[in-house]
Symmetry: C2
Subunit: 321 residues, 2 copies
């Protein structure tokens, strides 16, 4: 069994390293850290135990990656406009695509890049991890994976034998793995958390703990979650109100966490706004559902994002201000 990892960051590096450690052959596509990782391998600092992955099949060019059974897409979604150039050429016909990316709308993007009928899976990572120095990944907390099969418009596909096979690889790699018969439900449910907490962490410069401890922000997070629930309902996905309350409670008890969007912001990287807010808002608006708070959060974040980026990281449609 061979895996390719497109994007060797906090997610791709961590999960790819676990797969290789379990005995699978894994090929990593790298950019900035290619030479370093080629020479020194990957160092994983994990709450489950540190380990050093060496040697590593490192690639600077997708064309050198041999044909693999599974291709993990672990780029930031803001880089998806480059996907066509970052996927190995054989992907259109061979290999299962499994995206580990955030938000909603990444699977249909992938499906459009490959021949019709090719298998596209979505993976949701419930993990607190971030990059350190070159070739170093820090895994703070959690680490489970939920996998579901993508069907046009997020039609539920049930649990297929392929999903069961995938799960067995991951479990052998010591990754707690769940199978989602309805990938759309899983994606919307994750947005329930990502929309308020990723979004507000940037606007307020706050950790999860600071946000839920403030009654005003606790109330706002709940109201944003309610709007995510309405957006999901507009797509035929029913999220029980109890899920929302449970998520608020568990956020209040987790260790203070700087969200991934806040980390991107602090590093002056583009924010994953399309996947977390833009696409969900667009599909809900398509059904005539108005979501004032989510829209306002999106408006605020687009402004903050544009004014935050480093030169050269600007989107082509940047508006001068």
């Amino acid at each position: 069994m061979r895996y390719a990892v497109i994007g060797t960051g906090a997610i791709g590096g961590f999960y790819g390293a676990k797969l290789q450690r379990s005995g699978l052959e894994v090929h990593f596509l790298l950019h900035k850290d290619y030479a370093h990782v080629q020479r020194h391998g990957l160092k994983i600092y994990s709450k489950d135990g540190d380990f050093h992955l060496y040697p590593v099949h490192a690639h600077a060019d997708p064309a050198t990656i041999p044909v693999c059974d599974v291709v993990l897409i672990a780029l930031k979604t803001t880089q998806n406009y480059r996907l066509k150039d970052l996927l190995p050429p054989w992907v259109a016909d061979q290999g299962i695509l499994l995206t580990l990316q955030n938000g909603l709308g990444v699977e249909p993007q992938l499906a459009r890049l490959v021949h019709p009928g090719r298998v596209v899976l979505g993976g949701l990572c419930f993990i607190c991890s971030h990059r350190g120095a070159a070739g170093e990944i820090h895994h703070q907390d959690y680490g489970s994976l939920t996998i579901g099969a993508y069907g046009d418009g997020y039609q539920p596909q049930g649990v297929t034998p392929l999903l069961e096979t995938m799960a067995s690889h991951w479990r052998q790699a010591d990754v707690q793995t769940f199978l989602a018969p309805d990938l759309g439900y899983a994606r919307w449910k994750k947005l329930l958390w990502n929309v308020p907490f990723n979004g507000l962490s940037v606007v307020l410069s706050a950790t999860t703990t600071e946000m839920v401890a403030d009654p005003h922000i606790h109330a706002l997070a709940r109201e944003l979650m309610e709007e995510v629930r309405q957006a999901a309902a507009s797509q035929g996905v029913a999220i029980p109100t109890a899920d929302l309350e449970q998520m608020l409670r568990s956020t209040a008890t987790m260790a203070p966490y700087v969200t991934s969007m806040k980390r991107d912001y602090d590093r002056k990287m583009p924010l994953e706004l399309d996947a977390i807010l833009g696409y969900p808002l667009a599909v809900a608006h398509g059904k005539g559902v108005a979501l004032p708070r989510m829209t306002m959060l999106h408006q605020l974040l687009q402004h903050l994002d544009r004014h935050n980026r480093l030169p050269g990281e600007e989107a082509p449609e940047k508006v001068s201000a």
Copy 2:
């Protein structure tokens, strides 16, 4: 004609100085800068010409202020909980109260502090000014004053002979003065600008020019204005949509401006949230009108305000986070 100025900052200092320069007797209540102003007077750096006011009737204690015909209230509204101690004792029976404060709901606060039937006027300052070093006030732009009479629940009082007299003082002091037959309308119309631009300037760390140049924030500002319009309508105050469009256009052409709320934030002072957002939201909620964007802006600003204040500037109800 004698005036007292309670709060000698960017507003009270500027307008009080103009009144004294025109020949009226003006008594200034000061706190931090008392000794400096007592000794050196006030220096006004104005786009209409600088001037030095000396000598000045400076007071550190409201009890030393002689009975005046008019008492100008020019404190930040965040200090209004101290008003009872900052007003001269004769105010309950003598003198006309004229508040130059921001937002909505300050006149009923004043009315409750004095004997029933005492005259309370509201003044709206359209001015860009700020404090500099001790005893120094910088007046950048605009400078007009709109005065209206307060009646219970902002019932329109029309233009009274008293208002005409007041206007004649101000005009002699070279202040462009307008009379508002409906103070509530004037207050709500000013909120149309203050809610989006004061509020968003803090959340986004942006000038007016940066905000209106961003199409997302321009859209959000219009949506917030629309909610202010709905809130006003719930109080029987009709604001034409044309006012809103005109205000957006004039903001786009004014010089880049750091709003007063952003200046307070940068100086780590408490923000005028009750007058600009809390009270307007409360009266609209009282009529069953939901205002999701204004509410969200209020929630965000309450969090930012609490985490921004200097030690000792915290409100007693501070929530630890």
